[in-house]
């Protein structure tokens, strides 16, 4: 049994670190959200002016809409792909490791590298579509994935998904391997189809992992910044503008630290609200 004093000794350094890099800046951000501040002058308290402006800012609402679409995409597409992939691979007797490695590799590649790979693959001048157009005359194949404002958000989401779903796949596969084979055998004896086995044995068996991945996907995807910034900076013509990119531009290009702090606070509040709804739904018996 570890003594209380020992616990304090072990926990305090991490707690101090957490206070310094998370809690401190978070509290400062809350304070700055109520100021007019350019980042290099003295912040001036301006009450709720930044939030009034936020509610009237059409770009904020546009970006929020993109964040919600992005989050819904990540709560469905990669999770579905990873669940189905893991279930199919879990039924293999041999060669599972090959799939684990292949699907996991994109996750350990840096986002900038992932983004550049896809930028080249989909490049309108040298990419696969451009080559098909040049050599086979298939003009329809050369789609402006990152240049068409109606496609760009989904194109970036797919690049991000390419690295994310493999991570989920490995988590689900590991969780599925802890589900007792006896349950599957019993289901088979009862005449359960593969879908029914998945629905009534696999999903309940991996529910804690499923919940965990839904939570990290929800919080991570709502706060999206890296892939959007690397590939388009929110363009073209705000086609991929998300709250993270908009906040960054306001702070760094616009020298509006106070306003961008308000955007950050709004973003955090919305993400927290989504997470709370999710936790509450689970507590009230929803099957997640």
């Amino acid at each position: 049994m570890i003594a209380t004093r020992q616990l304090i000794v072990y926990v305090t350094p991490l707690l101090l670190l957490q206070l310094a890099v998370i809690v401190g800046p978070a509290l400062l951000n809350i304070g700055f959200a109520f100021t007019q501040w350019r980042g290099f002058d003295r912040p001036v308290f301006n009450g709720i002016e930044n939030f009034e402006r936020l509610f009237a800012d059409s770009v904020f609402w546009l970006a929020l809409g993109h964040n919600i679409q992005w989050t819904l995409f990540f709560l469905t597409v990669p999770i579905f792909m990873a669940l189905v992939g893991a279930f199919l691979v879990s039924r293999l007797r041999r060669g599972q490791m090959i799939f684990r490695i292949l699907y996991f590799i994109p996750y350990i590649v840096a986002p900038t590298v992932n983004a550049e790979i896809w930028r080249y693959i989909l490049n309108p001048l040298h990419g696969i579509g451009a080559q098909l157009e040049r050599h086979l005359g298939w003009g329809w194949a050369n789609v402006g994935f990152f240049t068409d404002r109606d496609l760009v958000l989904w194109s970036i989401a797919n690049v991000d998904n390419w690295h994310w779903w493999g991570f989920l796949f490995v988590l689900y596969l590991t969780a599925m391997q802890s589900v007792s084979r006896d349950l599957y055998d019993a289901a088979k004896v009862d005449g359960a189809t593969a879908w029914e086995q998945f629905r009534h044995v696999t999903v309940p068996g991996i529910r804690p992992t499923l919940f965990y991945t839904l939570m990290i996907t929800l919080s991570g995807s709502f706060l999206i910044f890296d892939y959007v910034w690397i590939l388009t900076e929110g363009g073209p013509a705000r086609g991929s503008e998300v709250l993270g990119s908009y906040m960054y531009k306001q702070a760094i290009y616009g020298f509006e630290m106070g306003y961008s702090a308000a955007i950050a606070l709004g973003m955090t509040a919305i993400a927290a609200a989504f997470s709370l709804v999710f936790v509450a739904a689970r507590r009230w018996g929803a099957e997640v």
């Binding site: 490049n123 309108p124 388009t232 073209p236 013509a237 705000r238 086609g239 531009k249």
Partner: protein
């Protein structure tokens, strides 16, 4: 090289007929790069004097409309990228490749790109000061502050810090060696250069740039880059809203009319960097 907007339009139309790009200029997903050619149209179209008065608040932004509209129209014509939809998608390296391979006639850029020019084109390319687009606009260079180096007021030994800066920047032989090695000349510009300061090893295009920059700007013939002399939100609006115009989300009227309220709000609240008088 044409010396009027009409001359460029004639040249670009002729180039397009031969499937050659007029300019190799795209934003590669970074809409901020659009301000390079916005700045060219403002300075070379309206003239640095008119832009100076606009930045000072003595002239309305509405008077810049012909120049902003011309810039947007040229991009929409596909003169900056071959096809309008490539404007948002190609990188600087791809732009330089187009220039080097003869698929594009020229590129609008700054001195930071001289190294790339040498890398991609070897001796096949050269530079000219941004040509005039409007009547009565003469040769000039746009001024910019890309970075600044200062000595802290709290420095324990400011004289030693100054000596280090002198060592780095005021030794012509060392600066010339750096220019030759890196083909990057922007940060040594404050030195007043003469052709005799350089050895034969220094790229003659760099020598010509540094000597003519000293001469031309020394005579007060300079323009104003948007990223140095415009208030930040106005600057941000100029290139972000340009993308909206290109995507047909905003009319040119709405684009131009949107500048003044932002500019007025900013300059009344925080002021603007006072532009140097020509």
């Amino acid at each position: 090289m044409p010396s009027s907007a009409e001359g460029f339009e004639k040249l670009c139309a002729a180039a397009k007929e031969k499937s050659i790009n007029c300019f190799a200029n795209t934003t590669a997903g970074k809409s901020s790069h659009g301000e390079w050619w916005i700045g060219w149209h403002l300075n070379a179209g309206a003239g640095p004097g008119a832009l100076y008065r606009t930045i000072k608040g003595e002239k309305p932004w509405a008077e810049m409309r012909p120049h902003l509209e011309r810039n947007a129209n040229w991009i929409k014509q596909g003169w900056y990228s071959g096809k309008p939809d490539l404007y948002f998608g190609l990188s600087h390296d791809e732009n330089w490749s187009m220039v080097a391979s003869g698929k594009a006639l020229m590129r609008v850029s700054g001195t930071w790109d001289l190294g790339r020019m040498r890398k991609f084109c070897n001796d096949k390319c050269d530079w000219v000061a941004a040509p005039p687009l409007g009547a009565g606009v003469g040769e000039h260079f746009e001024l910019a502050i890309g970075e600044s180096i200062s000595i802290s007021a709290d420095s324990k030994n400011p004289d030693a810090a100054a000596a280090v800066l002198d060592h780095l920047f005021n030794d012509r032989a060392r600066a010339a060696a750096i220019i030759e090695a890196s083909c990057f000349s922007a940060w040594v510009v404050p030195l007043k250069w003469q052709a005799g300061d350089f050895t034969a090893a220094v790229d003659p295009r760099m020598v010509r740039f540094l000597t003519s920059f000293s001469d031309v700007t020394g005579q007060g013939r300079f323009g104003y880059t948007t990223w140095t002399f415009l208030p930040p939100k106005t600057r941000l609006y100029l290139f972000e809203a340009l993308d909206d115009v290109l995507a047909n989300k905003k009319t040119i009227d709405a684009y131009v009319n949107g500048i003044q309220p932002i500019f007025d709000r900013e300059t009344s609240a925080i002021g603007a960097l006072p532009p140097p008088k020509m």
